[in-house]
Symmetry: none
Subunit: 361 residues, 2 copies
DNA sequence: ATAAATTTGTGCGTATGTATC
DNA sequence: GGATACATACGCACAAATTTA
């Protein structure tokens, strides 16, 4: 293995390229003549020519017959594609369309377009997508990490993004060891706290929690749920918590609630904190299937304040998710990173808000 | 002026390039060695090297140390961006996320990415977007025309797409004079017919219709509505039809229904055919505000079979809109156009389907 | 205006290094 | 190890374009 350093023409290429990139040789400026370079470096003119040809092919210099060799003006060589990649876990899940809309509004105004990708919450897919995006010329990236609670084995791909100086912004979550990267998060712990505290204030003591196990939001909302219980002096009962995974989301919470509702004497409950509005609706359906009514028999809360929450059979008390704002803030943060402005705050946390409707009493 | 022919290395470049382009030297095939070429052309090996280096820079050949010089496989030299633009009127409106998801599924599988744009149903915006897309290198375009009922003044932009051989597929509508272009439509006339016919079969005679005035779907559903009335021998009453525009969609149908519901004696109705599920829900709200109940007092139908329809207070009888399928069919059609296959059918009409729930009796 | 000097471009010869078969 | 093929490196001669004295 050689260090590549013994090649004379290669040395000269690097030396001249560095001088050009560092500004010691400026665009339009004439380089020393071939003979001068040869003499200065104690190499033959042919070797100098070989080096200059490489630089010419790379676009750093151009030669004019009889006049000399000159440094190129490469302004606009990095002509940006004006494409920004937006990578989310899902496309049609109820909150993303509006997040994407928020992003789009800001980016369109500045002449950028969205390159849309979704990981289906798969880590492997995310890696594949980032690799693919590194091939294309994108100006920036807004990404929602997939299954963010599981340790990330492909941090090197993000290192590649850093290397190519492609700025990126995390939304809705962030891998551990990357807490200092630009990101826009919701305070999900506080959201979980607020909604549980509200149920407690209504007099509920036996509160079932349903959380998604494979993302950070689920963990955080769970922590907020515990915090509210502790503050009220209610013992935390792990048997009252249902964990589900993305793949189970349609069936698992529904079946668990039905199962729990069946044996009313042994383990009863008077409220359910659901991970999101979709789950809350399936909880209400499960209760109805067991002849329990919401909110008469059991209070149920959602999360996200989707249109489902407002228009479903029992309008849901839920936590507002400022979807469009999240998107537009992420886009604005990314734009300021791209413009290499001094960005004051690169970690923004949006405060959650309680929306009270009819699903609790 | 010289014929450039006196330059030996240039001659050799042209000779070899011609042989490669004409197929005499095929991809992967080994070229004669430098010494052989030098001997055959009675030139020095250095001159041969100069020629080969030019060909290497141009991408026609590649050299392998110790093995020889080989002809490149230049398939995919016109390396496409593998980006497909998807232009819709809105992003977060309830049907688009799933249409886009359907498109994404098909395209991702084939290694393409979606470049997302939305016109906000503005003709000017659409023109701007197409102009912008012509600058970028997209491989194809799936577009939902904006305000498709109004005459299109920018057909020349589509002519540009034809000129640059960028294939495109219309979804959900099509400009007049472009009926022969590839497109995937829903039979909205039949949908309007089916839902109205269903209301008539339930015994309704005084059926109000609410339609969007500024797109083709509205016009078609209206035609189906008339057709069903005529078939049943019910006179068409223009006063029973409410037309609204995109900008009015939140308020106009609601207010008109409230106004009509107020004067119960003069003009009464026992059913409402709404343009879509969103409008149907606001109709039900307007009826409730006037102390009328759906479906007891008035039957109401939606259109699109969105999740709103299934989960809202009064589950809606509606027309199923195969959103993902529409997207995936559009993507497949576009892919086959891009591959320049002989595409049998380029105009595909999806049949609508009646979904019966609780909002009619 | 011309000639000389400078600078890049073309072309050849030779020697040596290094990877592949 | 030997033959082959590409890679690096130097030297020389002359051509063509441009600048300068």
């Amino acid at each position: 293995m050689q260090t590549d350093k013994r090649l004379k023409y290669h040395d000269l290429v690097e030396e001249l390229r560095d001088k050009i990139l560092s500004g010691h040789i400026r665009p339009g400026e004439k380089l020393p003549s071939e003979n001068e370079l040869a003499a200065a470096h104690a190499i033959s003119r042919q070797t100098v020519r070989k080096a200059l040809q490489i630089l010419e092919n790379e676009g750093f210099v151009y030669a004019e017959h009889g006049r000399g060799t000159f440094c190129s003006d490469r302004t606009g060589v990095h002509k940006s594609s004006h494409n920004i990649a937006v990578v989310t876990t899902y496309l049609s899940d109820y909150i993303f369309p509006r997040v994407i809309q928020g992003i789009d509004q800001v980016l369109t105004e500045k002449g950028y377009s969205i390159l849309l990708k979704n990981t289906r919450n798969s880590r492997a897919m995310e890696a594949k997508i980032i690799e693919e995006l590194l091939q294309k010329d994108i100006d920036g990236l807004i990404i929602e990490p997939s299954k963010s609670q599981i340790y990330c084995k492909h941090l090197n791909l993000y290192a590649m993004l850093d290397k190519y100086q492609i700025p990126y912004v995390f939304i809705q979550g962030c891998y551990s060891h990357m807490e200092k990267k630009p990101q826009i998060l919701l305070d999900d712990r506080k959201g979980g706290f607020l909604i549980t505290e509200y149920l407690i204030s209504l007099g509920h003591r036996d509160i079932v929690g349903i959380f998604k196990a494979d993302d950070m939001q689920g963990q955080e909302r769970h922590k907020g749920y515990i915090q509210a219980l502790q503050q009220a002096g209610i013992a935390y009962d792990p048997d009252k918590v249902i964990w589900y995974h993305t793949e189970d989301r349609k069936s698992h919470p529904y079946e668990q609630i039905r199962r729990m509702a069946k044996k009313r004497e042994k383990l009863f409950f008077d409220a359910v904190v659901a991970y999101n509005d979709e789950v809350a609706i399936s909880v209400i359906q499960a209760l109805e299937a067991e002849n329990l009514s919401c909110p008469k028999d059991v209070s149920v809360t959602g999360y996200d304040n989707s249109y489902l929450a407002a228009s479903c059979k029992v309008p849901l008390t839920t936590i507002a998710h400022p979807q469009e704002k999240l998107g537009s803030m992420a886009a604005k943060l990314l734009l300021s990173l791209m413009e290499k402005e001094e960005v004051g705050q690169t970690k923004i946390i949006i405060e959650p808000e309680l929306v009270i409707r009819d699903s609790c009493q």
